[in-house]
């Protein structure tokens, strides 16, 4: 028997169209089918109309789903074409300005398209694993240089990597190591975000940076590193802090984001993006602490945040007071009597540790995307103990940033940070 369902999704604009974030899944009972056979299915107006009305009231997209259980890789039929032509026009009248989708599920695959235009769309299941349930059919030629990694995660895994659009926020020690690895893995599409320039103290750890680059932007060095190994990359350069006006929102164009910054406000920004826009974020960092009388403590960590996973607040990795200060303008900070005491001093930074953090994050991302095994989504490396441990944290059901009520709320709800200065 064929089955059907209706999903409601928040549409979020991107530069290339929309990203639809599924908020609600409505499964019919047997009584909600007008008829249901092995080759035909129709939902009753009583079931569908309130959902269409809800979508209209909220400005959401409607996704009509049905199954072709007899097909492994399903293909839309002429019956489907006809139904979509009619229901698509109706939905465009009821809820104009947002795309409405037809999603087809076979026994071994999924296909999806925009009802009004027939344009194929990609379906991504975002959670601990990022499953690309549907692609646009574009073929990707495998390159000789990737043969050895294809042996590890297969041709399909390589193709998934190649199609990714990756956002990287922060192109210092960890970010540059990350770029070096991602380019060699065969990723071609990037959004690079950093406001800073190379100074002499960066040369000990920024991959690709030379003495001649002092004073150049970090994103320009990263771009050069990518172009050295990728012939035709697609790179968007954003020379600004991710908390600045109109910057964070541009990352909605990315499929995944790597967070390589050390300011708490910028990490909080990416934490919000991970859940509001359902874009997985891989956060990483290094700790090197030297205090009198104690041996050096050093380590690195990487974690994945996003739908179904605990956020940085639930992991207690953000500091509200630092965020308050980092969001202040330079003049406000100067006028605040307490800021002088909390002002950050230069932290130690060593290339082997920034590279370890980047490698942990890249391997975790490979696991999420290609399906290779990887225990947990939060790994901590303790240097002195020479141990690496997965860490488990439970999300807090009342968290205002990662609880189910806010996941996928798009531009609704808590706004992104938008200031006019760097953190």
């Amino acid at each position: 028997m064929e089955s059907a369902a209706i999903l409601l999704a928040t549409p979020v604009t991107r530069t290339d169209g929309f990203r639809l974030l599924v908020r609600e899944v409505h499964l019919p009972t047997e009584g909600d089918y007008a008829y249901r056979t092995a080759t035909r299915v129709r939902l009753t107006p009583k079931f569908a109309m309130p959902l269409e009305r809800r979508a209209k009231d909220k400005g959401w997209s409607v996704i009509y789903c049905h199954s072709h259980p007899s097909q492994l890789q399903p293909a839309f039929s002429s019956v489907d074409d006809n139904a979509e032509q009619q229901i698509g026009a109706y939905l465009s009248y009821r809820s104009p300005g947002v795309p409405h989708i037809s999603l087809l599920i076979g026994s071994g695959g999924i296909d999806a398209r925009v009802m009004a235009t027939g344009e194929k769309i990609r379906v991504v299941d975002v959670g601990e694993e990022i499953k690309f349930a549907c692609n646009t059919g574009e073929a990707t030629l495998l390159e000789e240089q990737h043969n050895r990694q294809v042996l590890a995660f297969g041709e399909e895994g390589q193709q998934r990597l190649h199609r990714l659009r990756v956002g990287i926020v922060g192109l210092g020690g960890t970010g540059s190591a990350l770029v070096y690895q991602l380019a060699r893995l065969g990723i071609d599409s990037y959004i690079l975000v950093d406001w800073d320039v190379i100074d002499e103290t960066n040369l000990n750890r920024v991959y690709g940076a030379t003495c001649a680059d002092v004073g150049q932007t970090k994103i320009s060095v990263a771009e050069r590193v990518i172009r050295e190994v990728r012939p035709n990359p697609n790179i968007s350069l954003i020379c600004a802090d991710v908390i600045m006006r109109n910057v964070g929102r541009r990352l909605v164009d990315a499929d995944i984001i790597f967070c390589c910054t050390d300011s708490h406000a910028s990490r909080d920004q990416l934490n919000r993006i991970a859940y509001k826009y359902m874009i997985p974020v891989f956060d990483m960092g290094v700790v090197i602490e030297k205090s009198d009388g104690s041996p050096l403590f050093y380590g690195a960590q990487a974690s994945m945040i996003g739908s179904g996973l605990p956020c940085l607040w639930c992991m207690e990795r953000l500091n509200a007071k630092r965020i308050m200060y980092e969001l202040m303008s330079p003049e406000q900070r100067q006028a605040d009597p307490y800021f002088a005491n909390s002002n950050s001093v230069k932290q130690p930074a060593v290339i082997s540790l920034t590279s370890t953090a980047a490698s942990l994050a890249v391997t975790m991302a490979l696991a999420a995307i290609t399906g290779i095994p990887h225990k947990g989504r939060y790994v901590y490396y303790y240097g002195a103990g020479a141990t690496m441990k997965p860490t488990k944290v439970q999300p807090n059901a009342n968290c205002p940033f990662c609880s189910s009520s806010v996941v996928g709320n798009g531009d609704y709800g808590d706004p992104l940070h938008e200031v006019d200065h760097e953190s």
């Binding site: 509200a320 969001l327 709800g413 200065h421």
Partner: protein, 231 residues
Amino acid sequence: MSSDKTKENDSHPNPFFFFVGEKINVNQTVLTGAQIKDAVRNAGKTIDPTHSLILEGHGDEADRSIGDGDQVDLTHGHEEKGPKHFHCRPNADFGFQLASGSTLEKHFTRLIGRYPNATIQENPIQANQGGLTYSVHIPEIDLPAGWNKSKTSVWFIVPAGYPSSTPDCFWSEDLRTIGGVEPKNSNTGTIHPLAPAGSRWYSWHVKAWSPITGDLLSYVSTIRDRLGRVE
């Protein structure tokens, strides 16, 4: 169409009216506003229930808002100057609103559940260089014995990025102890962008703010905790 509010002479042939230029036939010459809306909907048009039905005046006549219970005679002979034309007008609801669905909106709703007279407003632009901030004002908070007043107004700032960033410090009226002593760690020289000049600022901080457990109400509790100490 049937109605008990029908005009006695209900036999006018083919009564009709126009809605946004489109002719709509009905079977009564006198209809209420609600019946006119029904007739429009029955003709396949959409009427937003929050919009007002407007009868367009002929010539120099003013347009008139028609309530659901108001009757309109659709007769359009020589004296009635022609058929009636209607349209719907949206309500122009302007006004301040916190970001819809935001944590701040939820937390402020919770706050006014406890302090119904509390208000929130955006701070002046010079206070927002680091992003949009707000001021919360609670007109009356009871004070324990020992202060020179029994109640005080309280102001505090909701920082940019709330609830990720922590509220910090607060202002009251210029309180003193009964003995005339200024409260510890306070002054009247730190200016709040909206509180009256001379309001008293307190260096008072939340030890460890968490956006998961903290809200405006819990922050007011910390303020009350400070004001509960007559020192």
